[in-house]
């Protein structure tokens, strides 16, 4: 017993150095970590809000997203001043004929990839204003829409949950 132990101390260790990590496995794991990090840390979307003819009710509730109760920025969303800086166009209102061109131009000025979120009942199909000579229709009648948030106006919690869904 004692001899064996002494031998173990005096002899060199038999354990071999580790092999080099497998390149393919490393790449795979790195990609995985990158994906998770993007979701957890890098999820940030810039929003440009466009009123295409709303009654201003939706704007009030979108404003509320910035107050201390909802604090939209903690999720990585922030409002930007130009469509050229935006990932998301948040469009409200029935699109009036007088605003149609401005909405198209704002859409074309937004770089790809981009999402359009239509906010409010009017933004879906012109709502209560449908059929007027001055209204084109819903947002989808002018630019492609990715997500619609119903409500008149949708309360901030509803806006928030829909926007978070967009992130996920």
């Amino acid at each position: 017993m004692r001899r064996t132990l002494f031998e173990n101390i005096t002899h060199r260790t038999l354990t071999e150095p580790p092999p080099a990590p497998d390149e393919a496995a490393l790449r795979e794991l790195a990609n995985q970590a990158n994906r998770v990090a993007r979701v957890r840390l890098g999820r940030s979307l810039s929003i440009r809000q466009i009123d295409a003819g709303s009654c201003n009710g939706c704007e009030l509730e979108i404003h509320a997203l910035n107050n201390a109760f909802y604090d939209l920025e903690r999720y990585g969303f922030h409002f930007v001043a130009s469509p050229r800086h935006a990932d998301v166009l948040l469009v409200t209102g029935p699109v009036t004929k007088n605003m149609r061109e401005a909405l198209e131009r704002a859409y074309n000025a937004t770089p790809d990839p981009k999402w359009v979120v239509a906010v409010g009942d009017c933004a879906a199909d012109a709502g209560i204003f449908a059929g007027s000579y001055a209204v084109t229709g819903g947002v989808k009648d002018v630019v492609p829409v990715d997500l619609h948030i119903p409500g008149c106006p949708p309360p901030p919690r509803k806006l928030l949950s829909a926007l978070i869904a967009l992130l996920e």
């Binding site: 295409a52 003819g53 107050n67 009036t96 209560i128």
Partner: protein
Amino acid sequence: MDISRRTVSDQGWREAVARLASGKTTLLGLWGDAPNVQMALIDESAGAVELLTYACVDGQYPSVGAQHPPALRLERAIRSLFGLEAIGSPDTRLWLDLGCWDVDYPLSVRSMPRSGLGRAPSRKGITEQRAPYAFLPVEGEGLHQIPVGPVHAGIIEPGHFRFTANGEHVVRLEQRLGYTHKGIESLMAGASLDRGAKLAGRISGDSTVAYAFAFAQAAESALGISVPPRAAYLRALMAELERIANHLGDVGAICNDASFALMHAQTGVLRERVLRVSEAAFGHRLMMDAIMPGGVRRDLTGADSTAIQLLLAEIRRRLPRLIELYDNTASLQDRTVGAGIAKPEYVRQWGAGGYVGRASKRSFDARRTPGYAPYRELRFETPVLDAGDVNARVWIRIREIEQSLSLIEQILAAPPSGPIAAEVKGSGRVCDGLGLVEAFRGDVLVWLRLDTSGRIERCHLRDASWFQWPLLETAIEGNIVADFPLCNKSFNCSYSGHDL
């Protein structure tokens, strides 16, 4: 409300315009009702409202704007919507019509049957619409133009501002509005009162209570319905909650435009609390559709009343500290004091209401003159200042929040009991009615005519902004371009309410 209705000839119309131009009366509204035009005036000292109808001859009427400039944009709107021409008007450019509709004079087509009462709409408009809009000329050395909008940088409504600047200083601002024009008055024609009330509640989302209130008043006055006292109290309760919520939002937003975000964060919290209590009590954060002709949709429970009282206590506790913060922040005052002065003489001439009027000496308050239920039974003051600058408009809002808190306390202390709505049915005859309600930004006017079954034949809604937007053009003159957002926010005119 005492209204004297008159159908006037050329002479009667001109006399009324002369009284208006001399300042004896104030313009409440001017609108088309093809083939007629109608004008509402108020004698502020007597509180008497006059409603004049002029039957256009060959689609023409004597211009009011030629003598009284506040009528100019209204006349341009009448021309664009009805094709009725104001003879002698110095400004005949289209207004609201930006050349994007498929029809000319959209309201004249609707209200003029095919049998051809009046004249057929002229096609003259087409060529004008195709020509670029003629902004007023500005001449001088070293001037440059800054076009802004319709899409603005922020979460705001659309409109176009054409600045002419000399270096940093604004020499002239000219507005071009109409981008949010939804043709609401055409949707009103033929609508039931129920649908009409819904539309009225969506003229301007921030004033949904005030509009629904004014619409209900107009319908009730047309049909001769008296509203149960409890309903009147609940309407006032909602109107004052709306006023508080908007003023809180505005005070914060004005400070935010002077880069003082702390105030915005604080008032934002209070505003959110008001909206949450409003939702609990009336079923909607902005209280949309809570008021309908005849009364209100939902009664107030004891629990709601307690929640509102707790809210008032919270605001009363926090507001003084915020007022002190505003008053003692020199860098903020540096921006607001002396900026964007609306001259009292213009305010009086234009009959500008709300904080724009009251910050420039005009004490008009529709709750008092001509007055409506239940405000005659309640005690409140109308704050008035004379500086007319951004600072004064902030202070008026602060003082009005305090008054609204007191009004709500009075309402909750002794609300009348009884029903919350009266029955509404057609009167069997054609009838018309007028409503005038003090919204947070000023008086809102609604006039409507109902047919025998109680459906809407014609409804006109005039936002306070009609008489405030033009004053913003004057207030910004000589200020630096960078102060425009601040001045604009202190006016906080409605786009949608104006554009309809």
